[in-house]
């Protein structure tokens, strides 16, 4: 369990993080979603103590804080951050990287082989990383962190440069780690993917962490709240408003129109569908708003 | 290509290491100009007391000696050679007292020529060169003295025939240009070559830190290498700027001398003079050839071994290799003229001193350029082949 208490970071007078207080629990995958430059990496760097916050503190398991070097070592034993792929040693093999991480964190050696197998890296793991492609390097970085087997794992842009198959593969491993009781904090721009496995998702804006639920109540409820229409012309939208005047219709900057259908029963919902069909709308879905929509709503609304 | 050149050039001069090299060169040139140059004491200095003492002793001997049948053969010999010798010493004394430097130069020229003739040819074991050469442990003092006397003779002959302004500073080779000449004869070429190595050592491999930025440039690897080499060559040549600060300091203190001053060149046992201007140009050209050689060598090592430390070591090996095999007269056994490393003492090659030491005639300016140029071409050729292989990656 890792707790951030009143963390504040300022760079040249600008608030990057403003009084952030949050608790991350074991067996939880946390998603961090925010446009570039809003402080995701800064937050992770603060958790790793790579950056000293101007105020506030990080508390691990109720007791450990970055008060001295000894504690920093203890915390690093339990909290790891995924390495940058540009920092890999080009002249040694992927396997040796894994060995380094395994021995540094003194983790179970068997993890090396199992991770290689799970990520399908067997064919190239013995080659020097200098010969790897972007995706291979990214997988290796991820594998290194998995091998380190720490209680808390911070992953910045973990899905960068991966093909859909591997995105899926890594998602599964993340879920597995979660079931092992790890705390995984993921920053990602693959919102659809994140939505699938993250337990809690935070937006960041103006140096604050905002839980997605707070932006859109009912985001994590299991009921039909919204009809998403991808292409709704203004004309049809007008027509729709006339027909269902009490409905809240919003068009987002990503082109998606959201029709609030809360408290509708299936009959009235059918009417909405009928209307859309009559007006030659081919793409729409019924359910709730997607993370992408919230993202657009939250960051691009002026 | 021009844009890339500008890009590399800018990188070169914003590289902390390169700036540091320039600063260090500046420091050394100032240190030399302010601390070392003033304490320079040439062995062949203009020393009236010394001449006078020698002249008076010999004059006294000549006045008192009586030659008869019982005279020791050395005394007899001395009595025959001292009159002419003293005549020159007398001229030197007189002319320096009257500040007639031209005449002094001429008398000194004759004095050195005559002295060497006497000491080298007839004086084995009882006539000696200036004691400055006979330091403890120097087994070649006579050879050194022989060279220095002929050198001085030729030099003074040049002074007496030339049109340059003469002064004691010129005679003792203390003016800025002559100091430069002396330095070229000593460690300056090594310093420049080492600087060139340090400039070039990372010019290819520095890009490893941001490979993606540069991999996609629409320029072949070979062209990029050439541009890098060009920038490094330019940077190495510009190393002359900080060094010239020291030269200006010396010039302000001791005068600059002029480009027509003579520099004696040894060839086949004899000396002939060229002007210092010509000497400097030849040196410059030779050093530029060295730069090209070193740069092509390091480009070659950079694309084959791809390790900065290796670059540094290989470069240094080429600079110091000569110390390992150098020995006086060794050219009889080995054909040293075919090793590029034999030419590392650029000034000594051009003045012929290296030939004198090795006991050969083959270490000439022309041979040097030929060997260095050929080696550079070979290195560049292999670099070209390697950089054009399909699987080759520059970084």
């Amino acid at each position: 369990m890792i707790e951030l208490k009143n963390i504040g970071v300022q760079f040249s007078g600008r608030d990057i993080l403003k009084d952030v207080s949050v608790m991350f629990n074991p067996g939880e995958i946390i998603g961090l979603v925010a446009p570039n430059g809003t402080g995701k990496s800064t937050l992770m760097n603060v958790i790793m103590n790579y950056i000293n916050p101007n105020n506030g503190k990080v508390i691990l398991n109720h007791e450990l804080e970055y008060t001295n070097k000894k504690n920093e070592v203890k915390i690093h034993q339990l909290v790891s951050m995924m390495p940058d792929q540009s920092d890999l040693y080009n002249q040694i093999s992927g396997k040796e990287h894994l060995k380094i991480y395994s021995s540094m964190w003194n983790s179970n050696r068997k993890l090396i082989e199992s991770t290689i197998k799970e990520l399908g890296m067997k064919s190239y793991i013995k080659k020097n990383t200098g010969t790897y492609s972007l995706g291979m390097r990214q997988r290796l970085c991820f594998a290194m962190q998995i091998v380190s087997d720490t209680q808390v794992m911070l992953m910045d842009e973990v899905m960068n440069g991966l093909d859909p198959t591997h995105v899926e593969l890594i998602s599964q491993i993340l879920v597995k780690k979660k079931s092992e009781g790890k705390t995984v904090i993921v920053a990602s721009h693959l919102l659809e993917n994140l939505e699938k496995y993250a337990d809690r998702i935070f937006f960041m804006k103006n140096g604050e962490l905002i839980l997605v639920n707070a932006v859109s109540p009912g985001f994590d409820e299991r009921e039909i709240t919204t009809v998403r229409v991808t292409d709704l012309t203004d004309k049809i939208k007008e027509k729709f408003s006339k027909e269902f005047p009490e409905r809240n219709v919003r068009t987002l900057s990503n082109g998606v129109t959201l029709i609030d259908v809360r408290e509708y029963d299936s009959g009235r919902l059918g009417k909405v569908v009928e209307f859309l069909k009559e007006n030659q709308i081919k793409e729409f879905s019924i359910g709730k708003e997607a993370l992408t929509d919230l993202y657009s709503m939250y960051y691009q609304e002026r | 290509m021009w844009a890339y050149f500008k890009f590399e050039f800018f990188q070169f001069f914003s590289n902390k290491k390169n700036i540091a090299i320039y600063v260090i060169l500046l420091f050394f040139s100032c240190y030399y100009a302010l601390k070392i140059a003033p304490t320079y004491i040439p062995i062949e200095k203009v020393d009236v007391n010394e001449i006078e003492a020698r002249y008076l002793t010999r004059e006294e001997f000549l006045n008192n000696v009586e030659i008869n049948e019982g005279t020791h053969h050395l005394t007899r010999f001395a009595a025959t050679i001292f009159p002419e010798w003293n005549e020159y010493d007398k001229e030197r004394l007189d002319s320096i007292e009257q500040h007639n430097l031209k005449e002094y130069a001429e008398a000194t020229y004759k004095w050195y020529a005559y002295s060497d003739e006497m000491i080298f040819r007839y004086g084995g074991g009882f006539l000696f060169y200036n004691p400055g050469y006979y330091t403890y442990g120097n087994n070649y003092a006579t050879m050194d003295g022989h060279y220095a006397y002929l050198y001085s003779a030729s030099r003074y002959e040049g002074y007496s025939e030339g049109t340059s302004n003469l002064s004691v500073k010129v005679f003792e080779e203390r003016t800025a240009l002559q100091t430069l000449q002396r330095l070229l004869h000593a460690y300056l070429p090594l310093i420049l070559i080492v600087s060139c190595i340090l400039f070039t050592v990372d010019i290819v491999l520095k890009d490893r830190q941001n490979p993606t930025l540069l991999q996609g440039l629409p320029l072949s690897d070979w062209r990029r290498l050439i541009v890098k080499g060009g920038v490094s060559l330019l940077g190495s040549i510009l190393a002359i700027l900080p060094l010239s600060v020291g030269l200006l300091i010396i010039g302000a203190r001791n005068g600059f001398g002029d480009f027509d001053l003579p520099v004696p060149i040894y060839f086949l046992g004899e000396f002939s003079n060229i002007t210092i201007g010509k000497y400097l140009i030849q040196n410059m050209l030779f050093i530029v050839f060295w730069f090209v050689f070193i740069i092509s060598l390091l480009l070659f090592v950079s694309v084959t071994i791809k390790n900065e430390f290796a670059n540094l070591l290989v470069g240094c090996v080429f600079v110091i290799a000569e110390f390992i095999y150098f020995a006086r007269g060794v050219a009889v056994v080995w054909n040293v003229q075919w090793y590029p490393t034999s030419y590392v003492q650029v000034g000594q090659i051009i003045s012929g001193y290296r030939n004198y030491l090795y006991g050969t005639e083959a270490l000439t300016f022309g041979n040097g350029l030929y060997v260095m140029g050929l080696c550079a071409c070979i290195f560049l050729f292999f670099t070209f082949l390697i950089s054009n292989r399909r699987k080759f990656k520059l970084l």
């Binding site: 070097k69 060995k99 380094i100 540094m104 | 902390k16 090299i21 430390f309």
Partner: protein, 375 residues
């Protein structure tokens, strides 16, 4: 336990570093080159050395007018002294040619004593450059007296294996710091290029540095081993020689005789201390300057600083950089530079040791992994 896991990491990295292979090759080339040099120059050949000495004395004498050199003659004391010296030197040459080491040794002792007298004579300054220095003579004196006392047979031929090792370490020792600073100048920079890995390691920076030093020191151990291995060809050419053949050195302001193995031991101790010193210095400069070449230049400047400004040596005798050229310290050349007996070789080791301790403490106190920046 902690240490072991970092060491394993360091080994994996050093194993793949081309730099180490190159450094090993260079050391080997250096040793081979020196073997070659010793062979071509015929170093240690007493006949050659004596003929040089004879020439020097002759030219020293040429400074005087030829006069009667008998005791009752009217030449100056110094003149008579030099004439006698020359006589002894030629006698030594004869002794070598006739293979009479006894006679050579006796004459050598006479010669050394004669020289000792000459230093205080009037007019000595004029001929000083033709003669060995006072300290060299002092070392010779101790050496020959020791030889006489113990009866070890004098080596008059070129250098054999053990003598060559002593010579090799003398040459290498004076450039050892330079070599080590080139070798270690990038020690941390290479890691900074992988900062996101290193920053997160669950170990303190000082432990990491110590592990790094240990792994580098193991490679330095390989270098030192190479010296002994690649000199072995000399065993074939010149024989093994006597490992307890004496060498006269300057220890703590007095001249003493050490057997070669002891001298080698002392030199190795110095070289190892200097290696640790240089590596730590490189670590600190790397962190401060974040540039491999600036580190190298700064180290070399610090090294030549006492040589450029000799007055600084007596001003700050505890400056460890005064002691890095330990062969000069041991053969007394440093004393001639400084004209003071402040530079004590044992103190030198202590100062270097203290500097190492200070640097370790500094690393422990001031440097952390967390704040490393990528370069």
């Amino acid at each position: 336990m902690h240490m072991w896991k970092i060491l394993k990491t360091c080994f994996i990295l050093e194993k793949s570093n081309k730099k180490n292979i190159f450094a090993c090759i260079i050391v080997a080339v250096f040793v081979f080159g020196l073997v070659l040099f010793v062979k071509t120059e015929d170093l240690g050949n007493t006949i050659k050395e004596k003929s040089g000495e004879y020439q020097s004395l002759s030219s020293a004498l040429s400074k005087f007018q030829n006069v009667d050199a008998t005791d009752s003659g009217n030449g100056s004391d110094l003149y008579k002294n030099l004439v006698l010296q020359r006589h002894y030197v030629s006698k030594q040459s004869m002794a070598i040619k006739m293979d009479k080491p006894e006679m050579y040794l006796d004459t050598a002792i006479l010669l050394v004593n004669l020289r000792a007298d000459s230093f205080d004579m009037e007019g000595f300054q004029n001929v000083a450059s033709y003669l060995p220095s006072k300290i060299e003579n002092q070392l010779d004196s101790v050496f020959y007296q020791y030889m006489k006392k113990t009866g070890i047979s004098l080596s008059m031929n070129s250098l054999s294996y053990f003598q060559f090792l002593a010579y090799l370490i003398g040459v290498l020792g004076s450039v050892w710091f330079i070599f080590m600073s080139i070798y270690s100048s990038g020690v941390m920079i290479e890691d900074f290029q992988h900062s996101s890995l290193i920053k997160g390691y669950p170990i303190t920076f000082d432990k990491y540095v110590v592990a790094k030093c240990i792994s580098l020191m193991l490679i330095v151990g390989v270098f030192l081993l190479e010296l002994f291995i690649f000199s072995l060809p000399l065993v074939y050419f010149k024989g093994l020689g006597n490992p307890s053949y004496p060498i006269a050195i300057f220890i703590d302001g007095t001249s003493e005789v050490y057997p070669i193995y002891k001298y080698l031991g002392l030199s190795l101790l110095y070289m190892i201390s200097i290696s640790i010193f240089t590596i730590l210095l490189s670590v600190i400069f790397n962190v401060l300057l974040k540039n491999m070449y600036l580190t190298l230049f700064l180290e070399l400047l610090l090294y030549i600083f006492p040589i450029l400004f000799p007055s600084m040596i007596s001003l700050i005798p505890f400056n460890p950089f005064n002691y890095l050229n330990f062969p000069n310290l041991l053969n007394g050349q440093m004393f001639e530079l400084t004209n003071s007996v402040d530079l004590n070789s044992t103190h030198g080791l202590i100062y270097i040791g203290i500097s190492i301790a200070i640097m370790v403490v500094a690393v422990k106190l001031f440097l952390t992994t967390g704040k490393l920046k990528k370069v």
